[in-house]
């Protein structure tokens, strides 16, 4: 929570972010000793916390009338503290009924008081409706917690409950700073169908780039969470798909705040200024851009959210000098590259797994779970992937390249492995030492899953192997394909 709070309030000193009370006290103590308060009798912690909250609010609100603001603040805090006391008391009584009785035995109600008691209490069923309270509906996103003085109403199922639409904002004490209390909108990207794409032979666009450009681009995106987990193949497809976009003049809007976003950009040359208008979209007029919040230079990037789904741009980005160059990537291309490669690899793994006799009794659903959990590893030529005599921990599917098995004392390989072959599968079954060593003959790519992972997903292999077609009537029901 601490990090996020700091990120969010980038402009605030860390000690003013809403940490837990204990943290607050500590940080304030540190501040005091730095300020030379040294060994004097310490202020009460509760006081320090209040002062810190006040500091924070003053920073947030920048009031003109300081005394009035402070007076309001303390009056509100007092009201809040009193109400919270009452609330805590009433919620203990009303919300949960009694303490959690699940711990007391199987017949008690783990959710609270038994039905009969609850019925007679009647405190949850409230008929009152206060029209005046209905202005701030909980279902609208713009009821405000900042600025003015929020009135704390204790009421949850309490005496003044009424409908949830009669709601006054509760205290956000202890909540993340500026936490949005409104309803959250669902997001979604275009629906892409991998089965269809397998048929239409789609291949990602390819725009040639120099080795220099490639390495610069790689450096630009490697730290980005949308790219950091990609494998080499996906990476090179995406680097190839980035298209050059010259921005010939200064003051050209590349993206406009509030517009729908489809592209992600990396700056190849030049620099760009980022403006945010606090209204959420660009406004007409000379200062409609809002405030300049950042400058992005060569190697920087922007607009990444557009790679996930179509959402309004959070800022306006304008070229800050003549003849800039950008690399652009659109969402459909990005998602399609990821989806196709993920989908193809998943199918490949599932078909490999079908060939493993030890796993022949797995249902399709179980196989897809295992395929989901397989991890890709690459080994250079001549690597000992498993060592004879070691305790087996994982099994391997050979995705590409060749490997050979050797037994101690023999110089010729006892077995050759090609694409689609597997080895080390007995490790899933028991803890016996590896019967042979497997060494890569070329560079190889393997998909691997540890025994632990396998058992976590499906339980012990031994019991899976014991299944026969005859006795697996129930287990054969594949929840994905039973219809």
């Amino acid at each position: 929570m601490q990090n996020s709070a700091i990120n969010r309030n980038g402009l605030h000193p860390p000690s003013l972010t809403p940490l837990s009370n204990i943290h607050k006290a500590k940080s304030y103590d540190t501040l005091r000793s730095q300020a030379g308060f040294g060994n004097r009798v310490p202020y009460p912690n509760a006081y320090l916390q209040e002062i810190e909250k006040l500091n924070r609010e003053i920073l947030d609100s920048q009031p003109k009338d300081i005394l009035q603001f402070c007076a309001n603040f303390f009056a509100r805090r007092l009201e809040l503290e009193r109400t919270e006391l009452l609330y805590t008391h009433s919620i203990d009584r009303k919300m949960s009924g009694t303490t959690f009785p699940g711990r007391m035995g199987a017949n008690s109600n783990p959710f609270g008081a038994p039905e009969k008691e609850r019925k007679t209490s009647g405190i949850m069923k409230v008929m009152e409706e206060d029209e005046n309270d209905s202005v701030a509906s909980p279902a609208t996103s713009n009821f405000s917690f900042g600025g003015g003085a929020p009135t704390f109403t204790s009421s949850f199922g309490g005496d003044a409950a009424g409908p949830p639409s009669s709601f006054k904002p509760a205290s956000t004490e202890g909540f993340p700073a500026h936490y949005g209390m409104g309803r959250r909108t669902s997001v979604s990207a275009e629906s892409l169908n991998p089965t269809a794409s397998a048929n239409d032979n789609w291949s990602p666009p390819f725009h040639p780039k120099s080795a220099d450009q490639i390495s610069r681009l790689k450096k630009s995106i490697e730290g980005n969470f949308l790219f950091s987990h990609l494998d080499d193949e996906q990476s090179s497809q995406i680097l190839g798909a980035l298209v050059e976009k010259p921005i010939p003049a200064k003051d050209i809007k590349v993206i406009t705040q509030g517009d729908q976003g489809d592209f992600f950009y990396v700056v190849e040359k030049g620099s760009f200024d980022v403006y945010v208008n606090s209204t959420g979209e660009i406004q007409p007029g000379s200062d409609g851009l809002g405030t300049k919040v950042a400058t992005i230079d060569a190697g920087g990037s922007f607009g990444e959210l557009a790679l996930m789904y179509n959402a309004p741009r959070a800022a306006t980005v304008i070229s800050a000098e003549p003849s800039c160059t950008l690399w652009a990537l659109d969402r459909i291309t990005f998602r399609r590259i990821l989806m196709d490669s993920t989908f193809q690899r998943r199918r490949l793994y599932e078909s490999f797994l079908e060939e493993v006799p030890l796993l022949s009794t797995l249902t399709k659903y179980e196989r897809s779970k295992i395929a989901d959990a397989l991890e890709t590893q690459k080994f250079p030529e001549g690597t000992t992937i498993i060592q004879e005599g070691d305790v087996g921990e994982a099994f391997y599917l050979l995705e590409s390249g060749e490997a050979e098995a050797f037994k101690n004392g023999t110089s010729n390989p006892v077995k050759h492995y090609h694409k689609g072959d597997y080895f080390g599968e007995l490790a899933l079954l028991d803890d016996k030492p590896r019967q042979a060593s497997v060494i890569s003959k070329t560079e190889v790519k393997v998909a691997t899953l540890g025994k632990d992972g396998f058992q976590r997903l499906l339980g012990p292999v031994a019991s899976i192997m014991r299944r026969t077609k005859y006795e697996t009537g129930v287990e054969e029901i594949d929840p994905l394909h039973q219809k």
């Binding site: 919300m95 909980p138 409950a161 949830p164 509760a170 669902s186 990207a189 996930m308």
Partner: protein, 428 residues
């Protein structure tokens, strides 16, 4: 923007027909384009219909009314009976929007509007029976490329109709302009509203809702083979007894994601930023495991009042989700069982994520957080809801927001569109 008056919330019997008021108030309104008023062609079809058809329509109305009777008690056997016989969720070729009286809007989306309705010309005994009628305009559905989606949604809803904690599709029907889904009405509104009002839930309350959701997820994953993919307090409704009903997504903001997608081939990013699983964010191809992740986030939000990963900038949320684990605040107190189940759900490695690992939902149910919970009793709604919504009468809508009337002058569903698309709507 004219909003529906509060009159509807006070005396349901006196509520005027909202359609007549909206069409008369807009001079430019074309009767053909005013939704969901049935189109003239359709009317004439109805008039020429045979007496047998009329009788069937009457029978279907009675089924609808009878269904409403059952929702009062919702006995176990009745739920199961409905499931076995699949009396619910059928497409009706007899019912029309004229069989219902539209009371007020419960929610809107770009191509859908949900109305509180009751049976038109209802007998004295059936006057109190109310439903939610979701109306989808064919033109909008086509324009937003949601044809497959709405058909899919209808069929999934029909499959799951009868589950105690999922909104029930009673029946569906269509007319010239629109598609209709008749759903049970949950007068309690969203759990979201209660959570924000209470600031946070105590663990018993969180446990109660979590337990019902576990049964929903178990059913969807292990019986139906689908993932929900958008679990959050906003999508949980409360019925009159305070039990969960998983919401029909109202296609909010027109981002028409699948409500429930068949798993296995799920590559569409959809959900809500705070609740997205890391594999969804990183397009790793996701499975039903995303729902268990979201349940961990949900329990956290129930108990603390806010989700574990939060920032005003969604990109920062995603960075947190893929890079760090869930932290717990010092306040409020969170039991070690609750912390453990949250951490086990919110595990990046899907081969370690509770719910996805061997044992599936059964393993979730035996977690210490649910110790003492009698799962059969949860399913059969034997536990009393921790929050009983303040519902004063069956059609009470005080737990819902007010919505403005529908704008007039919508694009008509013309013959050209009809030729091209009508066969796609046959299932409705």
């Amino acid at each position: 923007m004219k909003s529906v008056s509060r009159m509807a919330t006070t005396v349901i019997h006196k509520a005027s027909h909202p359609l007549s008021s909206s069409s008369s108030s807009s001079a430019s309104a074309n009767t053909n384009t005013n939704l969901p008023a049935p189109n003239r062609n359709h009317n004439s079809e109805m008039e020429t219909s045979t007496t047998t058809t009329a009788r069937s329509a009457q029978q279907e109305k009675e089924f609808v009314a009878h269904y409403a009777n059952k929702t009062r008690s919702l006995k176990t056997e009745e739920i199961q009976e409905d499931k076995r016989n699949k009396a619910l969720g059928h497409s009706s070729k007899r019912l029309s929007v004229k069989d219902f009286e539209l009371v007020r809007t419960l929610g809107t989306g770009t191509f859908a509007r949900v109305w509180l309705v009751r049976l038109a010309n209802a007998s004295e005994e059936d006057r109190d029976k109310v439903f939610a009628l979701k109306v989808l305009r064919k033109v909008e559905v086509i324009k937003l490329k949601q044809v497959d989606h709405v058909n899919h949604e209808r069929s999934v809803l029909a499959d799951v109709a009868g589950h105690p904690f999922i909104t029930t599709l009673i029946t569906s029907f269509s007319d010239h302009d629109s598609l209709y889904m008749l759903l049970d009405y949950c007068p309690g509104g969203e759990v979201f509203s209660y959570l924000r009002k209470a600031k946070r839930f105590d663990e018993n309350t969180a446990r109660f809702y979590a337990a019902e959701i576990v049964l929903i997820i178990e059913f969807l994953h292990e019986k139906e083979g689908v993932a929900y993919r958008d679990l959050k307090p906003e999508n949980l409704l409360l019925d009159a007894d305070g039990h969960i009903k998983l919401k029909r997504r109202m296609n909010d903001m027109g981002l028409g994601a699948e409500l429930i997608g068949k798993i296995g081939e799920t590559y569409t990013l959809c959900g809500t930023p705070e609740y997205l699983a890391p594999e969804v964010i990183q397009s790793k191809g996701h499975t039903t495991a995303v729902d268990w992740w979201a349940l961990g986030i949900l329990i956290y939000e129930f108990i603390t009042g806010y989700p574990p990963f939060w920032n005003s900038n969604p990109i920062e949320i995603y960075k947190q989700i893929v890079s760090r684990s869930v932290h717990f605040p010092q306040e409020p107190y969170i039991s070690s069982e609750a912390k453990d189940i949250i951490l086990q759900f919110c595990t990046v490695d899907r081969s370690k994520r509770l719910g996805n690992i061997s044992g599936g939902a059964a393993r979730v149910k035996s977690h210490a957080f649910f110790k003492g919970v009698q799962w059969d009793e949860v399913y059969y709604r034997k536990y009393r809801g921790p929050i009983i919504p303040p519902v004063r009468y069956p059609g009470d809508t005080q737990c819902f927001d007010q919505y403005p009337d529908e704008k007039a002058g919508r694009e008509p569903y013309n013959d050209e569109l009809k030729r091209k698309w009508e066969h796609h709507f046959e299932d409705f």
